[in-house]
């Protein structure tokens, strides 16, 4: 029975409803850490680990939480397909641990009946036994096991580790096939049919398959699989109303099992939740609290963004300078310092804001408030064709569009998912802030209004609003274009409030940050190297040393040539080829604009903080080549700000959208639409400004 090779080791899947603490259990079993949530449907990736401790090697897969094996969202499909051994995520799952919430046994039993019918051997783990104990009812594992025909049942409380060793021992002993008998425990379905394991690839969530039922008249399951057969089966299933009869039969199964289990219901935790909700969802205080919380998030991201970017930037440029004096000059030193090092700094600059926003979101999620925020936000979101489902993912767009687009995987309405994916990059991400801060501090006067508001602050607020309003408008338009007859109805669980465990929160923040670094970081780094090549080659015969020489070298580089090529396109906006270089370079990450501009405008390197001040002087000195007038007029600056607010200047976002939507055409259409829109709005903004400044 003992396996030595890891590839031959048995692989067991953790399956359960959302919010049953399945992921905390996975952490406890494997020692491998990953995220746990108090908000339905956040674990979208399938994670695998190896059971820790001595003894036989056992692999464990953590599957996304689902209510049923009839898949509708991408994450649900991953779970269903893994258990059925079909589709793109074909996994050789040898058995399943069906994780139930001790306070919600019946719901878990509904899912258990489906897992049983896939034919996969399974055992039951009743998690959150501590919460049930707090409710005054110890878990009746014996009764449950007996009602399930002798299936092993283990009670656990994952966060405190109770029962985890017993579960691990059970897994080492193996999950035997002989428990997977439904007929011994289940009443027959109305047709006398039991559900069979489908033989062909799972259809996409767009087609609702229902579970395949064997004894539908006219269907012979021994027929070889074919698309026609699949279509016929679906037709027959729909026509017979079997899908709904099946659901009813599964609830009867759950009821039947529950009859043999001792339970007590006092609902103390629910009552505590209700007391909190009396305020959090109050008709007046609820929305006020909501606005307060969201305001705190934005304020936090904003307060952190610019100083963090400056601090990290100067740290890296100092380190780069140190490296250079240590290594001398040469191609590889240039590549390392100007290319790779600058690229890494462009990535690391985002970390403080990203970490802050993730911390905030994860805390909101784990306490259960995020589900309430989505509840409050649903009505306003509905006005533009979105729903509370997209609320949390879109909120993370204010840090970065990349995690936001990944988070949309849990949205089960595919039309809504596409709409939200399309508009997410319009919301002001933290990469725009350094650009805004530079341009605003350089050219917008610090006029004070009512002794409280500065013009600079108002302009910044206006840019945030511009992004939000455009996103809402775009969603509204797109919703009408893509309108579909049968939207998937909103159904979000409002879990009870829980005190988040600091350890879990810390693990999740680290994981999210790591995932961001992998997904966005690699693209930013790669594109930074491309930008370095473009701005450095063809190289001048003499290595540039002074700022003016560097500026001249840049002018002759590929990037300079590219800037000249696109100059006619951006000339109507008041931009010249030098700004063109900045726009091209900032495709790596928007804030690269600042460092590129400082090279273009021949700023002597004197450290980041002074560098910004020097850059402002450089900007003010800049002259137009045609008439020698000042390059940066108010109209040009406003146009540039509007352009950056709208344009999709971010290669990592484009790459992630292409992957997540499964279509390069979608990503390209998004990029072109936003670029065109940015151009038009910048043109309008410039001309409005010109009218005002002339009069």
């Amino acid at each position: 029975m003992r396996e030595t090779a890891s590839s031959k080791a048995p692989c067991y899947a953790l399956v359960g409803n959302p919010n049953v603490g399945k992921t905390a259990l996975f952490n406890a079993l494997t020692g491998l850490h990953q995220r746990v949530a108090n908000y339905a449907g956040v674990t979208v990736e399938r994670r695998e680990g190896v059971l820790c401790g001595p003894g036989a090697i056992v692999r464990i897969v953590d599957l996304p939480g689902v209510r049923s094996l009839v898949p509708r969202a991408l994450d649900e499909e991953i779970t269903a397909a893994s258990l059925l051994g079909v589709g793109a995520v074909r996994a050789e799952v040898d058995g399943a641990v069906v994780v139930l919430d001790a306070t919600q046994l019946r719901r878990g039993l509904f899912l258990l009946s489906q897992v049983l019918d896939t034919g996969i051997p399974c055992i039951v783990c009743v998690n959150m036994a501590d919460e049930a104990a707090a409710e005054g009812s110890a878990v009746d594992t014996e009764g449950l096991s007996k009602a399930l025909g002798g299936m092993p049942v283990v009670a656990t409380s994952a966060p405190c580790g109770d029962g985890v060793a017993a579960l691990a021992a059970q897994l080492r002993a193996g999950i035997a096939a002989n428990y997977a008998r439904t007929e011994s425990v289940a009443e027959p379905t109305p047709t006398g049919a039991r559900c069979q394991r489908p033989v062909e690839a799972l259809p996409t969530h767009a087609q609702r398959p229902g579970f395949l039922c064997a004894d539908i008249p006219g269907i012979n399951i021994t027929e070889p699989p074919s698309p026609e057969r699949w279509a016929r089966i679906r037709e027959a299933v729909d026509a017979s109303g079997l899908v709904q009869q099946e659901v009813s039969a599964r609830w009867r199964f759950a009821e039947h099992v529950m009859a043999g289990v001792r339970t007590a219901h006092t609902c103390r935790l629910r009552l505590r939740s209700d007391r909190i909700d009396r305020w959090c969802l109050h008709a007046v205080f609820g929305p006020l609290l909501f606005l307060l919380v969201m305001g705190a998030v934005f304020q936090g991201v904003f307060l952190l963004a610019t100083p963090a970017a400056d601090g990290i930037g100067s740290l890296f440029s100092a380190a780069g300078g140190g490296l250079r004096s240590l290594l001398g000059t040469g191609f590889f030193v240039d590549l390392l310092v100007d290319g790779a090092f600058a690229g890494i700094s462009a990535v690391v600059v985002f970390l403080p804001q990203i970490l802050f926003l993730f911390t905030f979101l994860i805390l909101l999620e784990d306490t259960g408030y995020l589900a309430r925020a989505a509840f409050i936000a649903d009505r306003p979101f509905a006005a533009v064709g979105l729903s509370g489902r997209s609320f949390a993912p879109l909120l993370s767009s204010f840090a970065c569009a990349v995690p936001s687009i990944l988070g949309l995987r849990s949205v089960d309405d595919q039309r809504e998912r596409r709409v939200a994916m399309f508009v997410a990059p319009l919301l002001t991400c933290s990469a725009r802030l350094p650009v805004y801060a530079l341009l605003i501090s350089a050219f917008i006067p610090q006029t004070l209004y009512w002794g409280l508001l500065t013009l600079q602050g108002l302009v910044l607020l206006g840019l945030y609003l511009l992004g939000g309003v455009l996103a809402a408008l775009a969603a509204w338009v797109l919703d009408r274009v893509l309108r579909k007859a049968n939207p998937v109805p909103l159904l979000l669980e409002l879990p009870i409030y829980r005190v988040p465990s600091l350890r879990t929160v810390a693990i999740r923040i680290a994981q999210r940050a790591g995932s961001f670094m992998r997904r966005a970081g690699t693209v930013i780094l790669a594109f930074s190297l491309v930008v370095w090549v473009l701005t450095t080659y063809p190289q001048a015969s003499v290595a540039p040393s002074t700022a003016l020489e560097k500026s001249a070298a840049l002018e002759g580089s590929y990037a300079g040539q590219l800037g000249r090529i696109i100059e006619p396109l951006i000339e109507p906006l008041g931009f010249d080829w030098r700004i063109g270089i900045g726009i091209v370079a900032s495709l790596a990450a928007r804030e690269v604009f600042n460092s590129t501009m400082s090279v273009v405008y021949a700023v002597e390197e004197t450290g980041q903080a002074e560098g910004d001040a020097n850059l402002v002087t450089g900007f003010r000195r800049a002259r137009r080549e045609s008439d020698g007038g000042p390059m940066f007029t108010l109209a040009t600056v406003v146009a540039l700000l509007v352009f950056y607010a709208v344009a999709l200047q971010c290669t990592s976002t484009i790459a992630v959208v292409a992957r997540e939507s499964g279509s390069w055409r979608f990503a390209l259409a998004q990029f072109l639409t936003f670029t065109a829109l940015a151009w038009m709005l910048a043109w309008c903004a410039r001309h409005i400004c010109l009218i005002f400044t002339l009069s």
Binding site: R106, Q244, F375, D378, N486, P489, L492, L494
Partner: protein, 91 residues
């Protein structure tokens, strides 16, 4: 299409109301579901089946969605979805 889950024969005399029209804090027994299959299936999977005890906990500050308790758990669903659920109100 009217769902086949409707089981009017149990208590034919009692009046039914739409879940969306129940007063906040009131409860009832689910009578049936109308509307398309997808909505019916999705609701049924979380416990909205005839005979289930439902409670309308509250409406969101702007009137929709609703917070509904079923079988010990709370779900938010929009008013238009709740309109397809019919309930025998408890006195």
């Amino acid at each position: 299409m009217v769902s086949e889950l409707t089981c009017g024969q149990q208590e034919p005399a009692r009046p039914v109301v739409a879940l969306s029209r129940m007063p906040e804090g009131s409860s009832g027994t689910m009578a049936g579901l109308s509307g398309d299959d997808l909505i019916a299936l999705k609701l049924a999977e979380v416990g909205f089946v005839p005979g289930a005890k439902l409670r309308l906990v509250r409406r969101a500050p702007l009137g929709s969605p609703l917070e509904v308790e079923v079988d010990g758990a709370r779900f938010s669903l929009r008013a238009e979805t709740a309109a397809s659920v019919s309930v025998y109100p408890h006195a």
